[in-house]
């Protein structure tokens, strides 16, 4: 049965070195890093080639759908009840519709971004691995959780993490499914 190994760090450079070494030991896809704030250096250590968040596609889709909706709702309702206004004013007139289009684009784009964020962050995230709910991680400590470690490799991984400067390394506990 595989187990999880959790390491707690008090220093950012130790954490980053730890990430590199854990990845080098072959756990790239079983690694969860917890930090109290976002940090680019941590993200670069995990994804050296960069990995843009797919949330952007949600924003794009929502924004385009909203803009389309804005134009359609304002033109189709005008066509539905055409008012013959003297002076040659068009029934469907684009300039005033830009306002509705823009506001719908922002509203739908924003709400789609929210949905994308909730979906990709797996929020609400109440069912994460128990090791991740460490109150220090939102305060002043950083953490690495390696999931599904072979018990035979545990000692080796523990040595790596302690050697790099972790202040606490805990191994053990049955693996829960953690998809964070």
């Amino acid at each position: 049965m595989s187990t999880n190994v959790k390491a707690v760090f008090a220093h950012i450079d130790a954490l980053i070195n730890g990430i590199h070494l854990v990845k080098a030991a072959g756990y790239s896809d079983r690694l969860v890093v917890s930090t109290p704030m976002p940090r680019h250096d941590v993200e670069h250590a995990i994804y050296p080639e960069g990995r843009p968040s797919p949330v952007r596609w949600w924003t794009l889709a929502g924004g385009m759908a909203g803009a389309t909706f804005g134009v359609l709702v304002s033109s189709l309702t005008s066509i539905d009840w055409p008012m013959a206004i003297p002076g040659g004013k068009p029934v469907v007139s684009f300039p005033p519709e830009v306002v509705i289009m823009f506001e719908c684009m922002v509203l739908w784009g924003g709400l789609a971004t929210l949905l994308g964020l909730i979906y990709h962050c797996r929020l609400p995230s109440f069912g994460l691995a128990v090791e991740l709910s460490d109150p220090r991680y939102s305060n002043d400590h950083f953490g690495i959780l390696v999931q599904g470690v072979d018990p035979k490799a545990q000692a080796e991984l523990k040595d790596i993490l302690e050697g790099v400067g972790a202040i606490e390394v805990v191994a053990g506990g049955a693996t829960e499914s953690a998809n964070a």
Binding site: M37, W81, E103, S138
Partner: protein, 441 residues
């Protein structure tokens, strides 16, 4: 901020939460009393009809619309600080943005009451929303009032979401440093946020997009509000200068309101580390910039009215500073164009007393600016036989005072229930603890 550690930031920001002090209770009591006065005035207006308010035809837009524009304007500085300065990577934003954003939400919530109050029969307020009525007629999407409904509801929704998203990691910090029922409630509020690398990656992307969406939004909202006036053919309103003029005025009044709220907050919570003179001076400079754009707008408006040789246009612009409403005009001019110039002097700009005092003066001036635009134009329209002198009566003043009570109540509850400084962002801006340095030392 170099002397602080991460743990100290969390501790210091959370320290004033959940502990009502005598001063806080007193302030809340004052806010609730003001709100009660507003509630009573509204009750009177509901039971007696809109005639109870001091409308004097043709002045059917009076204090309610004035105060609506005032509060919407206040909201703009919060979004400017949270979104535009985020995209511009202005470092001074970090300490002040959370409270400014809260101010935005509560100001929009306050502004949102006024179309309902103004509509009189508030139970028909849903008529404002675009849906086909029983004759399958839709609202006229070419009307600026419909644009306003779209703009304000989008602004309220997006700024609330933006505010909440920013709060999530900080609510998690509150959860982790508390126990019992607070811990459980805040765990639900932060949706079980854990700060994993995956969560932060998507969070940062989404936050950037929200800032990018909110930036043009904030500029559009007050432009649309200004079109409520500029699209009408009323002299004094029908002007292409209105959108930039209103947006500058909104940011001017909003930054002043941020100063009005943050200076007492810093003193009461002893937050010199997070809110210091550096932040206040930047806010004062922002007021100076936007205030002078406004000053320019006032001047160019007068010049164009004279230069256009249009008798109606010149009629209203001559009437404003010299007619019945001369005191409103000069109040506006003194508070918005003259007194803030004192902030050119660094000594005044870096003195808490002057910062606070001038910010209050600007708030007063900006309310009078909207009153000057709205009331004077309607009271002095094309037909001299219909000229009137409109002044708000006690019902309208009561509701105006009530709106300040409503706004203050929410802000006071916010500072005790939520972290009013962005914990995660302060930490992001700090130098992190390094093992290599510790070893070297």
């Amino acid at each position: 901020m170099s002397s602080l550690t991460y743990a100290a930031v969390t501790r210091e920001v959370i320290r004033p939460m959940f502990k009502p002090t005598v001063l806080w209770l007193g302030a809340l009591g004052m806010a609730l009393s003001a709100l009660a006065l507003g509630g009573y005035s509204w009750y009177t207006q509901l039971s007696q009809g809109l005639g109870a308010a001091g409308y004097k035809p043709p002045v059917m837009w009076g204090v309610y619309i004035t105060t609506f524009v005032f509060w919407i304007g206040i909201g703009h500085a919060g979004t400017l600080i949270s979104a535009i300065l985020y995209l511009l990577r202005a470092p001074w934003r970090t300490g002040v943005y959370r409270a400014s954003e809260a101010m935005t939400i509560f100001a929009v919530m306050t502004a949102g009451l006024f179309p309902i109050l103004h509509a009189g029969r508030c139970w028909y307020a849903y008529w404002l929303f675009p849906y086909p009525n029983q004759r399958e007629l839709w609202p006229n999407f070419k009307s600026p009032l419909v644009w306003d409904v779209f703009a304000i509801s989008t602004y309220a929704t997006i700024s609330t979401v933006f505010f909440f998203i920013g709060l999530v990691p900080d609510i998690a910090s509150v959860r982790d440093s508390s126990r019992g029922i607070i811990r459980k409630v805040y765990n639900i509020l932060c949706l079980g946020w854990r700060g994993t690398d995956n969560q932060w990656r998507h969070f940062m992307a989404a936050y950037g997009f929200f800032a990018a969406l909110a930036t043009p939004l904030v500029l559009s909202v007050h432009s649309v509000v200004s079109w409520d006036f500029a699209m009408a053919q009323t002299a004094g309103w029908h002007s292409t200068i209105f959108p930039p003029y209103f947006v500058a005025g909104a940011i001017f009044s909003g930054c002043a309101m941020v100063l009005t709220l943050l200076i007492p907050m810093r003193l009461l919570f002893d937050w010199d580390e997070f809110l210091n003179m550096w932040h206040f001076e930047r806010l004062a400079q922002m007021c100076l910039l936007t205030g002078n754009i406004l000053f320019y707008a006032y001047m160019i408006e007068l010049f164009i009215a004279w230069y256009s040789d249009n008798p109606y246009e010149w009629g209203i612009f001559y009437y404003r500073p010299t007619g019945d409403y001369w005191w409103v005009y000069w109040m506006m001019f003194t508070c918005n164009c003259v007194i803030p110039q004192l902030w050119w002097f660094k000594k005044i700009r870096t003195n808490l007393f002057w910062l606070f005092g001038i910010s209050i003066v600007i708030n007063i001036g900006m309310w009078f600016e909207r009153f000057n635009i709205i009331a004077s134009s309607l009271a002095h329209m094309f037909d001299p036989g219909a000229w009137v002198y409109y002044l708000p009566n006690h019902i309208e003043i009561g509701i105006l005072i009530g709106s300040f009570g409503w706004f203050s109540m929410w802000f006071l509850l916010f500072v005790k229930l939520m972290p009013s400084v962005a914990i995660a962002e302060i930490k992001e801006a700090m130098i992190p603890p390094l093992l290599s340095e510790e070893k070297a030392a």
